[in-house]
């Protein structure tokens, strides 16, 4: 009786454990930083970034509070905020790691009729040190020297294909090393507007390809004129923001692309343009760089991620800012996801309407236009290890890179990049068999094939003697057997003939 009782109590205890234990595990709040694995499942990750500080107008000692700031630009240790609602640009200096101080407020300049800004949306400094300002409300891009003297302006391009009534509203721009200007303007969907350094318009570059569904196409053929007018026309989607990386390639982010096209990879959320305006972004990851993979409704937000800005670090990792769910998505030069974090909310590290992102070194700055705040993120130990691994690999120090990736793996066993990173460093060290194991674990067939091809070649070279011997045996043995059988048969025939003859 006692035995039965103890058994029952043990069973009850086991049931309680199995029911309650997972519940307690799930109550832990996390999911701030995550990554997608091969199957597209969310894998939680240790944080790669932590909030260093959030700067509001008060923290920056501003008399007039920020109003709908929308542009951000980093230059050395200076950060420029386009305070669009207050028609001014604020220059901040990062004097130490955690400190940002206002050094200058730019709200007017000398040498032009209209010497103030009207809702400026973007700011840039060229290599020669001249200031470029997207003066959205005045329909011009201003070029000023560093003492704020007017030099020239870029206005609406003279082009027959543009609607004459269209008001020119440049929103974002980048400046290349020869001071050529590339800008995005509202209502112009032919690509980026490109100006030569003397202000002449030289064409559109990097138009996004038009995507449409074949069912739409059939409907268009069948529809009447009136119906056609009500339908959306097949037009390329406009860029929402651009960034020029340290090599002079332009990264453009596109929001509002067709959901289905994003899903099957015919539309891009991020593009990397070369001088010809062609997209050269590498998409070797398991998933396309489109941000979140699950677009269902959650907390009132649905649909694909809406990228509003991008910044590219010196190690080719680019970070996209999603203002739909308030997240940051980082991808490496091969298109593998490095991290995702963020969310919508009022806490530090969450955003309400993020508008722009910039970086100084590895530190990230995110501007929230509704919250009117600037959030500064610095990499954690884990984040630094990941960046070390990537940079050591790029520098050709494969052994050190492998070590760093191993350290990453020990901190996060669900991080696919770590396994592939170790594999790649082993591959460079010509340790093919070990590399193959790491690639196989994370289903990286391309890299696996590279390693396997070498391994197979080496194997055949090492065992060439045995292989030839086996081949020889396989070919010669049946020949010999056939020959022997043949001879035996002839002997038998000859003997029979002999017997026949003797009869």
């Amino acid at each position: 009786m006692k035995k039965i009782f103890s058994r029952i109590s043990a069973a009850v205890f086991a049931v309680i454990l199995t029911v309650v234990a997972p519940l307690t595990a799930f109550t832990k709040e996390s999911n701030y930083t995550y990554n997608y694995d091969y199957w597209g499942e969310v894998q939680e990750s240790p944080d790669l970034y932590s909030v260093c500080r959030v700067f509001t107008s008060t923290d920056l000692n501003l008399d007039v509070k920020l109003n709908n700031p929308s542009g951000l630009f980093a230059y050395g240790n200076l950060i420029y905020i386009c305070d669009t609602g207050n028609n001014r640009i604020i220059e901040l200096e990062r004097s130490s790691l955690e400190k940002l101080e206002v050094t200058r407020i730019i709200d007017s300049f000398q040498g032009a009729d209209i010497n103030t800004f009207k809702s400026p949306t973007d700011f840039a400094i060229s290599e020669d040190g001249n200031y470029f300002i997207c003066d959205n409300g005045n329909g011009r891009i201003l070029k000023l020297d560093s003492n704020l003297n007017y030099m020239m302006e870029f206005v609406k391009p003279v082009d027959n294909t543009l609607d004459e009534k269209l008001e020119f509203q440049p929103t974002k721009m980048v400046i290349d090393s020869a001071e050529r200007v590339y800008c995005i303007a509202t209502g112009i969907n032919k690509g980026l507007v490109k100006y030569e350094s003397d202000g002449t318009f030289s064409g559109f570059v990097g138009a996004t390809p038009v995507t449409y569904d074949w069912t739409d196409y059939i409907w268009k053929k069948l529809a009447t004129q009136e119906q056609l007018e009500k339908m959306e026309s097949f037009v390329p989607t406009e860029y929402s923001n651009i960034y020029m990386d340290y090599e002079g390639f332009i990264y453009g982010v596109i929001s509002g692309a067709d959901e289905e096209a994003l899903d099957n990879g015919t539309a891009d959320a991020v593009r990397k343009l070369n001088l010809m305006g062609n997209n050269i972004l590498v998409k070797n990851g398991d998933w396309y760089p489109v941000g979140d993979l699950y677009w269902g409704n959650g907390g009132g937000h649905e649909g694909p991620s809406v990228f509003v800005d991008v910044t590219v670090m010196e190690n080719d990792v680019y970070v996209c800012l999603d203002n739909n769910r308030g997240r940051l998505f980082a991808y490496d030069d091969q298109g593998h996801m490095v991290f995702t974090f963020g969310g919508n909310g009022n806490m530090d590290g969450y955003f309400r309407r993020p508008a722009a992102i910039e970086h100084i070194g590895h530190d990230l700055f995110v501007l929230d236009s509704l919250d009117c705040s600037l959030t500064m993120f610095i990499p954690t130990e884990f984040g630094r290890t990941v960046y070390n691994a990537i940079e050591q690999f790029d520098a050709g120090d494969y052994e050190a890179s492998g070590k760093s990736w191993e350290s990453v793996m020990s901190q996060n066993g669900n991080y696919d990049l770590a396994y592939i990173g170790i594999g790649r460093s082993l591959l460079r060290q010509r340790r093919f068999e070990e590399a193959m194991k790491y690639f196989e674990v994370k289903y990286d067939d391309e890299n696996y094939s590279k390693a396997y091809k070498q391994y197979r070649k080496q194997y055949v070279e090492d065992h060439i003697g045995i292989i030839i011997a086996i081949l020889a045996v396989v070919i010669i043995v049946p020949l010999v057997i056939g020959r022997i059988k043949h001879i035996k048969m002839e002997i038998a025939l000859a003997e029979r003939e002999k017997i026949d003859l003797s009869k």
Binding site: D445, E446, Y448, K450
Partner: protein
């Protein structure tokens, strides 16, 4: 029945009929005619081929190189995976027999089943060797695997279509017409099955709620 298993002739006939599947593969017209008309095929051999096919399909999951096939083990249900072959096969056999029996098809239900199973031979025969080879392939070479994979399926499909023509003694055109008609018959059956199960579950739910209501009132 078990007494016959001890006899040597049973086994000889079984092995001979199994070997005959290979002849059918290379000489489908002649082979499938003899299969039923000369009684050179056996049910035992047909079942063996079907089991081999199913086994190949299961073994393939584990032993194919990951360069050509990656299996999500967490999402795999082995029973539905096997049924995904068996259920269409069953529908095809029944659908084909039900249609052809109305239009002077000479084959009986058992013969349709036997011929269909004999038609599956290329599947294990091609799949097992390429399964081994797939472990020694790189991404660029995996096209070979893909091609042979498709060939094994098309080959089996052609064999089954030819087999149906031979056992029902149909001409080429009529055979193709009835192959297409069989596909429609399958669709109709699936449709009816769905309605049937939908109705049953509705009916059961009705009586369950009625019973609940009664218990509640009493």
């Amino acid at each position: 029945m078990f007494a016959s298993l001890r006899k040597k002739e049973t086994w000889v006939r079984y092995l001979k009929s199994l070997k005959f599947a290979l002849y059918c593969m290379t000489h489908p017209m002649d082979g499938y005619w003899d299969l039923t008309h000369e009684k050179r095929g056996t049910m035992a051999a047909a079942n063996t081929i079907l089991i081999l096919t199913l086994l190949t399909r299961v073994i393939k999951l584990k032993y194919t190189g990951f360069v050509v096939l990656i299996v999500n083990w967490e999402e795999l249900n082995i029973i539905t995976y096997i049924l995904s072959v068996l259920f269409p096969l069953l529908l095809f056999v029944i659908g084909n027999w039900a249609l052809t029996t109305l239009f002077d098809g000479k084959g009986r239900l058992g013969q349709v089943y036997m011929a269909t199973c004999y038609g599956l031979v290329p599947y294990p025969l091609i799949q097992i060797p390429i399964m081994f080879v797939s472990n020694f392939l790189t991404v660029e070479e995996s096209a070979i695997y893909g091609m042979l994979d498709v060939i094994s399926l098309i080959y089996a499909a052609i064999l089954i279509i030819v087999a149906m023509g031979q056992i029902h003694e149909y001409s080429g055109g009529k055979n193709i017409l009835f192959t297409v008609a069989t596909l429609f018959a399958i669709l109709v059956m699936v449709f009816i099955l769905m309605i049937f199960f939908g109705m049953i579950s509705q009916g059961v739910a009705y009586f369950i709620s009625l019973g609940r209501e009664l218990l509640f009132r009493l």
